[in-house]
Each structure stands twice: as C-alpha cells, then as structure tokens.
Symmetry: C2
Subunit: 218 residues, 2 copies
Amino acid sequence: MFSFSEENYLKAIFHLERKYQAGVSTNALAEEMETKASSVTDMIKKLSEKDLVIYKKYQGVKLSELGKKTAIEVIRKHRLWEYFLVEKLNFNWDEVHDVAEQLEHIKSEKLTRELDAFLGFPKRDPHGDPIPDAEGNFSVANKVLLSELGKEEKGICVGVRDSSSDFLRFLDKNNISLGKEIKVLEKEAFDGSMLILIEERQLRISQLISNNLYIKKH
Amino acid sequence: MFSFSEENYLKAIFHLERKYQAGVSTNALAEEMETKASSVTDMIKKLSEKDLVIYKKYQGVKLSELGKKTAIEVIRKHRLWEYFLVEKLNFNWDEVHDVAEQLEHIKSEKLTRELDAFLGFPKRDPHGDPIPDAEGNFSVANKVLLSELGKEEKGICVGVRDSSSDFLRFLDKNNISLGKEIKVLEKEAFDGSMLILIEERQLRISQLISNNLYIKKH
DNA sequence: ACCTATTTTTAGACTTATCTAAATTTATTT
DNA sequence: AAATAAATTTAGATAAGTCTAAAAATAGGT
C-alpha cells in the first residue's frame, strides 16, 4: 500500500484539481503541502512510477484513475472519522481536523466499512463536506457562497469553505451553524460586508466571512 | 512526540521486562521486533538519548520512568481500540490486532480520553488483558495458566497468552471464550494434554493449548 | 585463566522524504 | 526574437530507520 506522504499528496492533488478544474502545477502543490517545489518534483516522480498520477516534465500533474480512487478513499476515511469524533466523542467541529489527518491513513477495509455502518452511513461531515460511499461516489451539493447572495435572498447554511479552527470558532461565537437559515438584509458595495438575519438576530459580517460560508439557496 | 518505531520499541521492552522480570537483551528485543540486533542497538541509543531507556553498552536496556509511562500509554490505546473494534464495529477478537497496531499510534489525548469514556471505561480488552486507566494504573489479575491446574480443579477462563489469529480461531471453533468455566477432568502425564469440561461438553486439549489459556481459580 | 562461542556493537550502505542551491525549461515582456 | 522573469527540475546533502558484514566485548567450559 501507499505511505502516509503519498496519500497526502494524492489528497492535495485531488483538492487542487477540483479547485482549479485543471492540472496541478508543482508550485501550487508545494504550497498546498507546505513544502518545497523540489520535494514535490521528487514525490511526483514516485507517484508517477506507481501510476497514481499522469506526469510530464514541466507540465504539472493530474491524478490517474487509480490515484483518484485512492485519494477518494483517504478523503472518505478522513470525513468518516471527523463525523465519528463529533457525533460520538464530543469533539467540536474545530477540533477534529488534526486527529482525522492521522486516522485517515489507517489501513483496514473492514474498519472503514464497519465505521461507516456504525455511524449510519452519514452523507456529510461536520463541515458539510460530502462523505464518499464505499464505491467512491459522493454528491456535490448545489451550494453557493454566502457572498454570492444578493439583498433579500436567503438559504440554508450547508458548509464551510475554510475549516480552520479560527473561522469555526468565530461561527460558534456568533451562533452560526450548519442547517440554519440565513437571509441577506443589506449588502455594502464598498467593502463587501453584509447584514444578515439568522434566528431572529441581525449580524454584520465581513466579506471574508461570507466568502467562506456555503449556502443552499431556496 | 515519539515516532511509531520508537513507540513500538518501548512497547516491546515493556512486554519483555514483564515476561522475564529483568533487563532486556539486544537479541531478545531483536526477536520481539522481528529485526536485526544491529538495528536494535541503533534504536536503543536513540531511546537512551531521549531518556526513554536506561542503557549501558553490552548490559541490555530497561525502561526509564518516562519510557514506562509512554509504553503504558501506547498499550492503553492499543487495548481501548481493540475493545472498540470488537464491541462497536463487529470485529472478531482474532481480527483486531493489526488494526490496533496502527491505531495505537494516533496522537490525541482528547481522543484517548473520550474513547475511554465512550466505551464506558472498560477494564479489559477482548483478550482479557487489562486496560490501563488515564493515570497508567491497571490491575494484574491473579490468573494462572490452565496447564497449571490439577485434576478436578476448576476456574473461569479470563485471558489468552497467545493472541494469534490461529489460536483464537481454534478457541472459537471449540466454543472456548472468556468468562466460561473450565474444569480439569483428567491430566495426561505423558504429553501434558488434558480432558476438560466446558459447558457440559468434554474436550481434550494439548499442552500447547492449556499453556496459552489463563484461568482464574476458584 | 585461557580459549571458544555467543552476544553486542560498529562501520558502511540503502531507502524514504525532505532540504538548499544551481541548472534548465517555459512564459512574459519589450 | 531576444532578454528577462518565473517555474520546474536536477544535484548533492541530511535524518530516520533499516540492513550486512566485520570487529569488539562478554560468557561459558575445561
């Protein structure tokens, strides 16, 4: 099987492919992995030899089918463990990431399968991200960023784009959580901030906030 | 914190110290770790520099207080995860070892603490081994090997010495499990085999078997 | 106490994953 | 189209953990 490091690279490539809808450059990957471009090149060569990625010198990488399958398995495990930590072990949603980063590399098909069943085959992790099923299928919700909503529009909060502890704790402090309805009352053209209505309370939030909250319009 | 490999060495030293009530030789450790003596020497030096073991050239090693504490933490996690796998995820007791070997290295105090609580602070793992509590305390049961029992003696099956899949499946096949009463009906001096009574059934078992089953006499 | 066998350590090498610094390729600008 | 800038790769080094083979230390038998 694959090393922790290899799995982490695959995951990173997967996320970057989604984000930019394109092949992934060495530098982009270096930034995502918080490492140097030269290290990335080395690793890419290894992944390429194992047929996990398609690579041509100077042309960036993309995942092969095997690489994609492997990446999705790791993401599936990550999100299942996050769900487990929050639902069963009293973790807050801002505390799960680092532990799930470790747990996602545990190798045992039975473990993943049984954990999934034990949790009741959850569809989304605590941050609203979809959990791939055993076949690697997952739904992509028709969500938009809160910042894309116009005045008087409303929807349900369904996910976060940034899942850093700082951002999540900000949301906690302001009683914003997944499943709640948000209505845009005002939008400030100057700085992109908006006044929103959530559970009968009015709240002014900066564009940085609205840019990191996913909404399902209705 | 410590690497997987360092933690595995500490665990092995801990088990060997218990087993032989003495310092641990390089060769014994090499055998336990399924590696070469030269690799062991290298690792011991590293552990010694980190004050995890007390080491004098050619004199074997023993755990320092810190090393012992660390080893017990790893063992605690290993056994908690085994309990989790069996009680919550439908693993059989012969399937848990390899997965627990991976899970025992996950670093998160909160995870261990919450897992323990979630499981109801179990005292013993699926093989009957004691689970250390958060302070590292654990009870050592007054158990004996079944082979040490004489004719007409009886007791409760409380643990296994060998937890290999082969042995555990043999026990399953013969309906021997922890908590059941076993009575020695006959003991064969020649080959050490014995005829036992378990749940109204008579069963003849070899000395290899009786040498690997722990009994609490009564 | 000496010789031999066993155990343990050292020396040097290999692999994985990383780094810095230099070289090369690609992209951009004039 | 040449010159410059940016991105990428190569070369060589490092650290962790392992190995083989050789050297050194300890233990045992007479």
